[in-house]
Symmetry: none
Subunit: 201 residues, 4 copies
DNA sequence: CATGAATGAGCCTTCATTCAT
DNA sequence: GATGAATGAAGGCTCATTCAT
């Protein structure tokens, strides 16, 4: 037995709690210092635990980063998803997606910042249970339905997905920089709707 | 500083050549591995020289990164600038800026990728001779003139600058991913013009 | 600091043991090679541990040197102090100081050699809890009291402190060179007493 | 031919000039920064020449240090020697030696400082043409003659030589620290004469 | 004679990882 | 479950030395 990474079917409550605590500490540290500068030592220090704990609960640094990604996607999906699901039309869904995203960044300023930093650092998630793809597909699906419904112009949805995501990245940075959230949401929503809309000048 | 970076008034030809060679190697390495993973050793290896050479021509890693930044800005300004300067109206200038940028990314796929990576890594340029600010101001100036001229809608130009930059970042990534350049330019130009244009329902 | 130096209130026994072991190894290495040539690698090698250990127990090289200084002062104060405190007159105190110092160098040949080397290397102690100053003041105080009591001649005590310290440095070197300790103590004590005494030829 | 260290019987004038210039630059640099921190690059910079020159005129760093030692001994012998030679009695000779030494340190503040630093750094002179020994022997000879003549007390001359040298080291440091030269000479001379003189209670 | 260029070794530091308790 | 201890690799930097020109 090479010692003991935890990998049970039913994680103990304390395990779960520790993991969450560590993931949150990791998110905060990464948001503050960037992914590469967020050493395990600093994360442990912020969590107020010893360095070994991370090795115990997560087998390696990469797994911790995977957990960070999963956590951000989970919270993001919860925060953004509800509005999207309840939308009547694709356009409303897109609006909900954008507004919800900005609201998410405002409510959890470190989460998306941290996620961006992790991906920017070149980390390749291993446990990828398709969250990223899933979310992208959702946005893609909204666009496709909107085009079909005649609410959006004809476009390359893959590129447009990337554009929308990129525009939302602006919100991540600006929220962190303290820019007013409402103004931000307004400008970004306008831009996204304009970019996808059929309007012709 | 003894073995310190060269700082003559008229740099020798060989100096300039080596520096350029090293900067190019750095750009390629950073574009491929990211700024943090691009160690001086890897850069030197790619350039086919020993590790010490970098320390000789550039005093430190930071100065190498500064040189990378300067190089990218220099090439970028050359590639993008001409079209912008010759534009008749703010709208044309914006079009030229966007199209020129995408063309620049296509012609030098690693340059902007590398620049983005350097900034994402948290590097703070020291020799900042204001290139970055200058370029941002240029975009900001285009927007302001366009608004004044009634070609663009009223907007927060600071946020819109960030949005446009962010949209262009999509081009950087997609070009690297091999997406067709023309299609890319088209979608991005459309998005930018729509985002800045006067709404027309 | 993640893997940083330990800084608990109650250092574990093993910590204290390792630290002591490393400090001793450092003292020996410095005494043998000089402060600058005593790299952390060589110290670790002499201690029979890996290089990283020093980084673990001491945050940096400077802190290791500080610990060396503290150790030498601690041992020195213990060895020399008792005799000085029990002295009846300033002259006796000075004698005790000199004799005790030589005895100290004889008993711990590397300690003072190492300390001298550290200071000669230009190291500036950070944790300086005033030991150095304290010790100098003590010598200065002995001289002042002796002058006042009429046992010593009138003199510039600051310069004389330096002279006495410098004469004692001879003992450090000669002890290391294997000169007979008694003879050494005798000559040095004579010199110091003569230099401070009122006797006129 | 492995290229070219100069080693002629009759050195060119320009060679000699360059060598002196470099040695002086080395002395100043070492006095200011210490022997280990005085890299060849810094010495060359202070001399206003390129780095390669040192390698050309001196084969290696060690030879440069040897030249520094030789230069200091040469100047020192010139400055101190005359007074000593002309002294009538051993006591006068010792006085002249001490006073001359302090004067030497005052006139050339960096020379002896540099020499001390070189030896403290652990440098072992290779070209030792016996200057050091010669000078020590001279002091030793003065002491022996003085004892024989009944001017000095009976003593271990080897140890006393070291003590006197060590006392003079105080002058080197204090002169560099800006202490008044006259006061210094007075205290030091008194100490040396007292240490060597016949006790007179 | 002199220079700039290049090299490679060595140093200090940081860090992810492993392990015994 | 959790901790402190230890390791070894890698990175950036300095520097003495060598060499072609």
């Amino acid at each position: 037995m090479p010692s003991a990474r935890v990998e049970r079917d039913t994680p103990t409550f304390i395990q779960s709690a520790r993991r969450t605590q560590l993931v949150v500490a990791a998110i905060d540290t990464i948001a503050e210092l960037g992914a590469e500068r967020a050493s395990l030592g600093k994360v442990a220090e912020r969590a107020g635990v010893s360095r070994g704990v991370i090795g115990y609960h997560f087998g390696s640094r990469d797994e911790l980063l995977d957990a960070v990604i999963a956590e951000v996607y989970a919270v993001g999906a919860r925060e953004v998803g509800t509005g999207v699901v309840g939308a009547a039309t694709p356009r409303d869904a897109l609006s909900a997606f954008v507004s919800g995203s900005v609201a998410f960044y405002t409510k959890y300023p470190q989460h998306m910042q941290s996620l961006t930093a992790v991906f920017a650092s070149g980390h390749q998630p291993r446990n990828d249970r398709g969250e990223h793809a899933a979310e992208l597909l959702e946005l893609d699906s909204i666009l496709r339905r909107g085009i079909e419904a005649g609410q959006f112009r004809s476009m390359d949805t893959e590129i447009m997905c990337a554009i929308i995501r990129s525009i939302l990245d602006v919100a991540v940075k600006k929220v962190a920089a303290g820019v007013d959230s409402e103004l931000l949401a307004e400008e970004i929503l306008h831009s996204v709707l304009a970019a996808t809309g059929k309007a012709d000048p």
